[in-house]
Symmetry: C2
Subunit: 168 residues, 2 copies
Amino acid sequence: MSRFALIFVVIASATAVRASEPAGAPTPIAAEFKVRPIGHVKKSEDRTWIVLDKQYAPGLLGLDGFSHIHVIWWFDQNDTPQKRAVLQVHPRGDRNNPLTGVFACRAPVRPNLIALSLCKVLTVQDNMVEIDQTDAFDGTPVLDIKPYAPGIDSASDVRVPQWAGPAK
Amino acid sequence: MSRFALIFVVIASATAVRASEPAGAPTPIAAEFKVRPIGHVKKSEDRTWIVLDKQYAPGLLGLDGFSHIHVIWWFDQNDTPQKRAVLQVHPRGDRNNPLTGVFACRAPVRPNLIALSLCKVLTVQDNMVEIDQTDAFDGTPVLDIKPYAPGIDSASDVRVPQWAGPAK
């Protein structure tokens, strides 16, 4: 499902202890928030679309001016308490890769099942955005679309660990 | 709060009509999903940390091998039905910028209040990641951290509209 997919997982022990702080007490944070799909991924043989529910179509105004988008979607097939409790995996399902935290890889199991794909925009029409491709399955719920903006989304002097391949 | 901040908003009309499909019927999608903060943003005078709740600290294993992370956080100050209904804005609060869909800018009002910041990792220690900076306020809930991987996160031949500045 993902280039950072996994097979072998380790469920880390959990404690209810609050994190220590650099300074001061944390602002109280709500226990949970609700997200609602704005649409879904639609795949045919060789094409992929983000299909928004019609009421969200006005949110696409001007998107055709961008070449790339971040698509934020939900690993809905993994929405179980067990999979949301996984904190460490062997990336890409390869036990030769070092045991790695889910926040240090793109594993599709993690506390919040948020997925992030950078996609190329092919066309924008009505409530549909045709994109080059995504790892998401057909029918996957989409939560948000954000345009790619080089000033805030590009990185230089990138470093990644050996298992993640060359930093190009 | 954001380089894509706004002042003037337009609440688009909403309908319950289902999106038309390229082919076939959509897979039924759950009406909502729950996300829970894994920690929060902590800011002092000139430093910024992501402070995870202690039970999530194992999820950081190996993150120190990466130079950059995507931090996914929640625009918690905008979590009202009214702000989540906004679908079009004038980006950066400038009425000279064209009316733009929230999925075509990084406005902090949108149906799902998910924010995305690319950050430089300075240090990783225990349950804390020191980063260079983020637009998020002190105390902002954090939902996820993903390492930046050039192979999937970098774009070439980028095009953006004039209001979004030069594509560099």
